[in-house]
């Protein structure tokens, strides 16, 4: 039994800016470019936009990200819905969910959901951009972290991955199979930053970051923005571009308590979020055609596949070919744009933007033929927060 909101709302506009090492602009500028592209894609006018939800990325943690003032920067004077939302990588899903509920109940007609970020500086590394975010000398027990040499998200995800790998006998070569698979897709994605071919040898030869993670286990850091416009299904049908209907939505937030009572690192919020979204959609894991999963690290993809019930615990790697660089290899329909590992790092908007493209059937040479049910995930913290969207070209 599906929910009454199933198929009643849609993403009607998508704007993806230039991505990656694009210098000389702040996050607001990218946000402005993304909403311009999105209203053009939808065939809307600026004044049609009556809802604005924003999510800054790394620049938000640095204090220079987009927030409520974006309304005035964009001169949006008709807003009936406005918020700055944050559940880290789950925010993009959450924004679209909030927007969908709002338009369904008449609180707004066209809600622009924007992720924008510009942490990369010319001459600075991606690691500097991320490692520097929010680094002020901590006090109390938190000060033990730098005293022990713990730094950054790479470390906390590597710790999670190690526990998973030892438990299930998953190897670095397995993680490499995820990385190489996604690069194959990125080669066909004009928005992607990393489009040169990759082999498993390249993966193994890439430098260690935090063992068990090589460089090619870790996502990019990107400057850019993605805007999605959410409206009702009835409005979306009459607009310029094909709608991506929202069939299911869910969230799951297990948190991250450091105690024996709580398994951390080998579980995510996808289990709860997925159950909620599948129930709303009246669908199950077996109905999914395409997966766009939050992939801050290769490991996160395997974790997410299993937590949605698409593979048994420890068996997600079985969906991947032994050598995904082999042109004959049959690639899983997972992260078909290259994901954050190879295309662009827009937090939860990376999987959702590719999910909209796949649901519309506009993926060009990387388009998955069967794309009726597109499962998109967002994930934040160290597997602490999770959001799910199920998109489809069909409202029914």
């Amino acid at each position: 039994m599906s929910d009454p909101i199933r198929g009643q709302t849609a993403v009607c506009g998508l704007g993806i800016t230039e991505m990656g090492k694009v210098y000389g602009h702040d996050a607001s500028w990218f946000a402005g470019e993304s909403i311009k592209l999105a209203i053009e894609d939808a065939g809307l006018q600026k004044d049609d936009i009556d809802g604005l939800l924003v999510n800054p990325g790394i620049t938000g943690m640095m204090g220079t990200g987009i927030s409520i003032p974006l309304q005035n920067y964009l001169g949006l004077r008709n807003l009936r819905l406005l918020n700055h939302m944050n559940s880290f990588g789950a925010t993009a899903s959450a924004m679209i969910q909030f927007a969908a509920m709002a338009v369904h109940h008449g609180m707004a007609n066209y809600v622009a959901c924007i992720f924008a970020d510009a942490p990369l500086q010319q001459g600075g590394s991606a690691g500097a951009a991320y490692g520097g975010a929010g680094r002020r000398g901590p006090s109390g027990m938190a000060s033990l972290m730098p005293a022990f040499g713990f730094y950054g998200a790479n470390t906390s995800y590597a710790l999670a991955a190690r526990r998973y790998m030892e438990r299930y006998g998953v190897t670095n070569n397995d993680l490499g199979r995820v990385s190489v698979t996604q690069r194959r897709y990125a080669i066909d994605n004009p928005h992607a930053t990393m489009r040169q071919a990759l082999t498993l040898d390249d993966y193994h030869n890439s430098r260690w970051i935090v063992e068990p993670f090589h460089l090619l286990d870790c996502c990019l850091v990107s400057n850019g923005a993605v805007c999605t416009i959410v409206t009702t299904a009835d409005r979306a049908r009459d607009l310029k571009s094909d709608p991506a209907y929202v069939l299911g939505m869910g969230q799951g937030h297990p948190g991250n308590l450091p105690h024996a009572e709580v398994e951390v690192g080998t579980t995510s919020g996808a289990t709860i979020a997925g159950e909620t979204a599948f129930k709303m959609a009246g669908l199950g894991p077996a109905d999914v055609d395409v997966c766009e999963f939050y992939d801050c690290y290769t490991y996160t993809v395997l974790r997410t596949i299993e937590d949605y019930g698409l593979a048994k615990p420890g068996e997600a790697i079985g969906l991947y070919p032994e050598d995904p660089a082999d042109p004959e290899a049959d690639l899983p329909r997972i992260n078909t744009g290259g994901g954050q590992l190879s295309s662009y790092y827009m937090w939860g908007m990376t999987p959702i933007s590719e999910g909209v493209i796949q649901a519309r059937g506009s993926g060009g040479s990387r388009q998955v033929e069967q794309h009726d049910v597109v499962l998109c995930s967002g994930n934040g913290g160290t597997l602490d927060t999770h959001g799910t969207l199920i998109l489809s070209p069909n409202a029914n």
Binding site: G140, G149, Y151
Partner: protein, 134 residues
């Protein structure tokens, strides 16, 4: 050579914890109403929201919950140590602690390996609670 890595920075609430480390004692917060040990410091028990607690000395025994080898330099003082071992230790009392593993061959480290505390006096003022094979 003088110790140049980042030093702990106690605040009023955690000063007793850092003082006890200097005496080679590991303290945990114990909340009697929930019979619950908690780490890191919080002014409230996350189980029953009680604010009544006392410091209790930990056995210092536990097992490796997970571990990694750090190869990236985030702070120049770590450069000479790269790669170094970071771990999360599951204490027998329940809480998990981030720490370093010492006195162990990296090839021998496994999830589930029994460990015990190894206090390291890094300066006259500070001692770090590291762990070694039990």
């Amino acid at each position: 050579m003088a110790y140049d890595k980042p030093l702990p920075n106690p605040d009023a609430s955690t000063q007793p914890f850092f003082d006890a480390l200097q005496e080679h004692k590991l303290l945990l917060q114990y909340f009697p109403s929930a019979d619950h040990f908690q780490y890191p410091y919080s002014d409230r028990c996350y189980k029953d929201w009680s604010t009544d607690w006392e410091w209790r000395e930990s056995s210092g025994n536990g097992e490796v919950y997970t571990w990694v080898r750090m190869h990236q330099v985030y702070h120049p003082s770590w450069k000479a140590e790269i790669p170094y071992t970071l771990a999360v230790v599951q204490l027998d009392e329940g809480p998990r602690m981030q720490t370093n593993l010492v006195n162990v061959d990296v090839d021998d480290i496994r999830v589930g390996m029994r460990v015990k505390i190894a206090f390291e006096d890094i300066t006259d003022e500070f001692t770090l609670p590291k762990f070694e094979p039990a």
